[in-house]
Symmetry: C2
Subunit: 706 residues, 2 copies
């Protein structure tokens, strides 16, 4: 079944409500833009004071129109919206684009007006785009309801919370002769149709080969990632999320009244859903363009083809910094290069086919073939002049040779199925050779870093698709675990005591270290007298145990433990006399190993999410943590271990053994299941878990209830 909003985005007829004869007014310029774009459907101006606008018959009201209307562009002020939408409903208009601002984003009165407008729309079954949007655009039907000139057809869909941002990337692409577009939607306040619904539309639209999403915040982030998970299984989605920094979040919030959310959580969750997240605005379009041609291919092992060494050095830096590799070519490939360009400077990867004599475009085809035919190579990055020889030296001979080379490169890319990205000093010239390359799905860009980002984006999408992410079904809650939670609830507590948390984990099949809780005067069990132990005060009234002397480390043997426990009770009682002391927890000292932090927290947008990071300063200073939404699949957990900056620590440092990754992964999946089995748990904090070469030990556990 086609998306219900398809008829609105590709309408057979558009009414312009508030059409005008004044060329300065949106109600005039909208009609003009539809004419210029060659809109295929019917244009119906509505204005009670006019009978004709720009040669079209003008109607006094929607009711007076003798045709069916799919989409209405509402150019009238905000306060008129409920009435206008009511009229749309009576006429059977399918969707209305509400340009006006002054709704929810502007304050209490606006929010009330927005609520009334939505109510009317829902009652009549009119779908709303916006309000507070700069419109929609469909290049394939000529529906230009934004007014930007010159946008042409292509395969890229754009879904944006900012009209300016979309305008910027679309006009730049067109200006430089890059890929064209399918549909643009300015989501505005998302008051009816949401990011998620639009994204599903793009997912179904056959002409859209990749989707760019610019977002500041989502009304319903969880719905968006659900939609993204479905869409990214079919086509790539490239997201730029503004509001990464604290101050940025302030700016984004005041812009569209939406919740910017915590960037780190959002990034993890988006990646989990297969979205390619870019963090520079100038990468959004080129990465989406590259993915529109090469979705699903790998681009890990890159062959570089250059004329000249300087750009090679830059390319190598840019690729390596993005985790891509530049392997050696097979001897046969090097021999093929040598046969083609015996005088070249460098006949191995990275290949520099410049040399003593002036390099000529005729070498490009054979060099490309030698590189892309190599079994060690997944993709090629061409840096330097390719496509621009005819700028540097505009003779017929050079132009023809370069165009022929471009055709050959295109053919080799298609034949081998391996992507080529071309970085070119003249990328904005849009020469004939570049048009040949671009028509064949070879992206041509000016910046070496952006070219590298294109390859990294192709690889990231490839990996996201490879990832086995079907999470295991969550286990059933155990009776014992339920009872522990119920008991705490009955006492009005929202935090479990540490022994309760340990028992809950154990009852859910998670290995915890041996422990005991000593009441006043009690001696420790024999098993805990044979190893050095830590003791901690157990009290519902104490939040920070260390601050009141409630933690002692490295006690050995029954007398030391018993004495230590008594002394600790006395010290704590002296510091916080009103605290109820339930006992003293005794656990073995944690083994040596790598401190990690594992947790579950409840995000306002995405619900329960898992946190993984390295402990200590890594968490506290470097914020080196990563998030994924529950339920967690094993592929998700693996991606989390790989994603943190300090990931190398897990593999062992100073020649030490690496940690037991399987044990960490298993614990993450168990935690995910536990948190899902008990909706009453809002937070789990295992900090630290000590990971060693065999196994991972929970050294501290904290569980909060919703």
């Amino acid at each position: 079944m086609p998306s219900p909003i398809r008829d609105i985005l590709k309408p057979r007829s558009v009414a312009i409500i508030g059409a005008s004869k004044d060329p300065a007014k949106r109600g005039y310029r909208a009609i003009q833009a539809l004419f210029r774009q060659g809109f295929e459907g019917m244009i119906i101006p509505i204005n009670p004071k006019e009978s004709e606008i720009l040669g079209l018959p003008c109607y006094s009201s929607l009711a007076a129109v003798p045709h069916a209307i799919d989409t209405a562009l509402v150019c009238t002020p905000a306060r008129a919206a409920p009435g206008v939408i009511g009229e749309c409903g009576e006429k059977g208009v399918k969707g209305a684009v509400l340009l006006a601002g002054g709704f929810g984003e502007s304050g209490v009165e606006g929010a009330e007006l927005e609520a009334r407008t939505i109510e009317v729309a829902k009652r009549h079954g009119v779908r709303l785009i916006g309000p507070n949007t700069n419109g929609i655009f469909d290049a394939h039907t000529g529906l230009n309801l934004v007014g930007w000139p010159g946008i042409y057809k292509g395969g890229i869909g754009v879904l944006s919370q900012s009209g300016n941002v979309a305008m910027s990337l679309m006009t730049a692409s067109i200006r430089n002769g890059q890929a064209g577009f399918t549909t643009f939607v300015g989501v505005g306040n998302e008051s009816d149709i949401s990011f998620a619904e639009y994204l599903r539309y793009f997912g179904e639209d056959a002409e859209t080969r990749s989707v760019i999403v610019y977002a500041e915040g989502f009304e319903d982030g969880a719905a968006f990632v659900e939609a993204a998970r479905e869409v990214t299984a079919r086509k790539p989605v490239v997201l730029y999320k503004a509001g990464r920094t604290q101050q940025g979040e302030g700016a984004a919030r005041s812009h569209s009244g939406s919740l910017a959310g915590d960037y780190a959580v959002g990034k993890g969750v988006m990646r989990q859903a297969g979205i390619v997240v870019v963090e520079r605005s100038d990468e959004m379009f080129p990465v989406a363009e590259a993915l529109s041609h090469h979705a699903g291919k790998t681009a890990l092992r890159v062959g570089i083809l250059s004329e000249g060494g300087g750009v090679i050095s830059q390319a190598v830096d840019a690729l390596a910094e993005r985790g891509l590799t530049m392997p050696r070519l097979e001897p046969e490939s090097e021999a093929a290069l040598k046969a083609t360009t015996p005088n070249a400077s460098q006949l191995y990867n990275p290949v520099d086919y410049g040399g003593a004599t002036d390099p000529h475009p005729r070498y490009l085809g054979p060099c490309t073939r030698a590189i892309l035919s190599d079994p060690n190579i997944d993709a090629m990055l061409s840096v330097g002049y390719v496509g621009g020889y005819q700028c540097r030296n505009d003779t017929d001979e050079i132009r023809e040779a370069e165009n022929a080379a471009a055709r050959e490169m295109a053919a080799i890319s298609q034949e081998t199925g391996k992507p080529i990205i071309v970085q070119n000093h003249y990328a904005e010239w849009n020469t004939e050779a570049m048009r040949i390359l671009r028509d064949a799905g070879i992206v041509v860009v000016r910046s070496i870093e952006v070219a590298a980002a294109c390859l990294a984006g192709i690889e990231e999408y490839h990996r996201a698709r490879q990832r086995v992410s079907a999470p295991p079904p969550p286990p059933a809650a155990t009776e014992e675990a339920r009872a522990i939670i119920a008991a705490a609830r009955a006492e009005g507590r929202s935090a479990l005591l540490e022994p309760e948390a340990l028992r809950l984990l154990a009852a859910s099949g998670i290995a915890v270290p041996p422990f005991a809780v000593l009441r006043e005067g009690e001696a420790p069990p024999a098993a805990l007298t044979e190893v050095p132990v830590a003791i901690k005060i157990v009290s519902r009234d104490i939040l920070h145990k260390s601050d009141v002397g409630g933690v002692r480390l490295n006690l050995s043997g029954a007398p030391a433990i018993t004495e230590g426990a008594a002394a600790m009770r006395a010290a704590v009682a002296a510091r916080q006399p009103d605290a109820r002391l339930e006992g003293v927890l005794v656990t073995p000292m944690a083994p040596r190993g790598v401190e990690i932090i594992l947790g579950v927290t409840t995000d306002p947008q995405y619900g329960k999410v898992m946190l993984f990071g390295l402990g200590g300063v890594f968490v506290e200073v470097l914020k080196d943590v990563t998030f994924r939404r529950l339920p967690l699949g094993r592929g998700d957990a693996e991606a989390m271990l790989d994603e943190i900056k300090g990931s190398a620590i897990l593999d062992g440092v100073r020649g030490g053994a690496g940690v037991d990754r399987d044990a960490i992964l298993a614990l993450m999946l168990q935690l995910s299941g536990l948190a899902l089995a008990h909706p009453g748990i809002s937070e789990i904090d295992l900090n630290p878990v000590i990971a060693g070469p065999a196994g991972a030990t929970i050294a501290d556990a904290r569980i909060l209830l919703a």
Copy 2:
């Protein structure tokens, strides 16, 4: 005295050696390029087979030329170089540009040829540019010896190890209507004139307002930073260093046969010399352009002016990520904004002057004035449409209003002395308004991230100039320290034993913890029996003490220490029976605190450099260290503390106290003095030093001799 190479770069006459009538040959195209560029001087073709080329009289040899020749462009093959340079010398040619490759970069034979060529040049006093260069260019005299078309005059000098890289940024700048150039030099193999000498030339050239350096490696890095220190006191130098990654270094080495060096050391040393280091190739030119207009100004506190919110969010992210701030405006400034644009969406910083009605260029001037007059603001970033309203809506009224606004913005920037950077969706359109802005020193760029990088570059140069970097004179070596080194040398040792290292530090005025060395059976001194101590084996034959059981921690009291020392001796002797044991070092356990690493090492390019970083995983996994060359000034040391990624740890985490920065800084300066006073010391490794709220304690010291 003007630079001796000025006459070569701005010659009155140029001989083309190997001039040709064949339009495909460099010897023809060079003359054509000089004509097209309007070269002011005399062009003198040399070719024994021709009497006239392109209408110019052609001479059979240099000797036959009846005029003085400043510069010779040598288009002949490499093997002819010694002979040609000899003829240049006899004719009194001041400098020769050697285009040919096939010298040192190509192997042993080439290196021999290069050496012979240099010998001839030195003998005759002919200066060499290259070999293996693509030439030189001077826009102010029309000296186009590279062939690139369309380059125009401006204030930016370019010094590049890659012709392609320079061509790329110069042609893109011209294409987009950005700033023009003074002189370009392709340094090639640096076989005679070095990076340093060229840089000094740019420093002296009155027309050059900022210098771009693209380098892969330096023949003499120390000479370059010496030159840079002088030049950056007068004008900004922006450096992009290729070869940052391991693989990148491989590429750079095979390109120009130079030593890429360790990037981290180089980056620190370059910054110390006042150079602005950029790490993306697409930032090189815009940052240099911004600095050519705003050298010395601060740009820390940025006011944002935007139409529309999406780009604001991006701008805020980009600025915050580069350490710039966006402070509140004064109430008067906000009132001034409100008076101008009452309907604007956001009348505080970041300012969004868009709103319910279509924003108009006439508001730009007053908004700019309100922002730049504010005492809390150092610079303005305009994002969105400014300069491109006339692209979006090309009417006379809009165009004139926008041009007037551009003039007003330019006037306000000049009046307040505060920089403006304009990010614009249409930056490549080069409208009249943009030309007005650019002529007034307002950089206009397309990417928000690059715009933010321009402001960050202005701020970085400002700070570099502010930094008090006159290092204290190194202290004299003490007799005792000399004796310790001499004693180790006399025994043929290149590493001091730890007690020797501690004594050497103490003899040089550096506070070390109390220590004692126990011979077999000796008891510890009383002072060391009152605190927990660490004991370590002292042996010239043992490199890794822990590996042979040679370290024990946390011993308290004389019996435990004496027994521990005896047990350790026995354990070590069992593991490494042939090791000579000098004794057992006893030192107090280090206090708790932040582990840092301080060291001095000898870099092959820059000589003695200081290393600073956080200890443990920060050094080992995150490589979070920074370097500066000795002698170290206090400003240098402060910059090092600020520069590491984990810098926040020094300020205290979890509400804990910060470390004693003064103590660390003092220790760094002392170490610098010590290393310089004793040329025989090649490495000092204080790892870790434990920094606390009062003082810093050296917990381990290692000193190596050259």
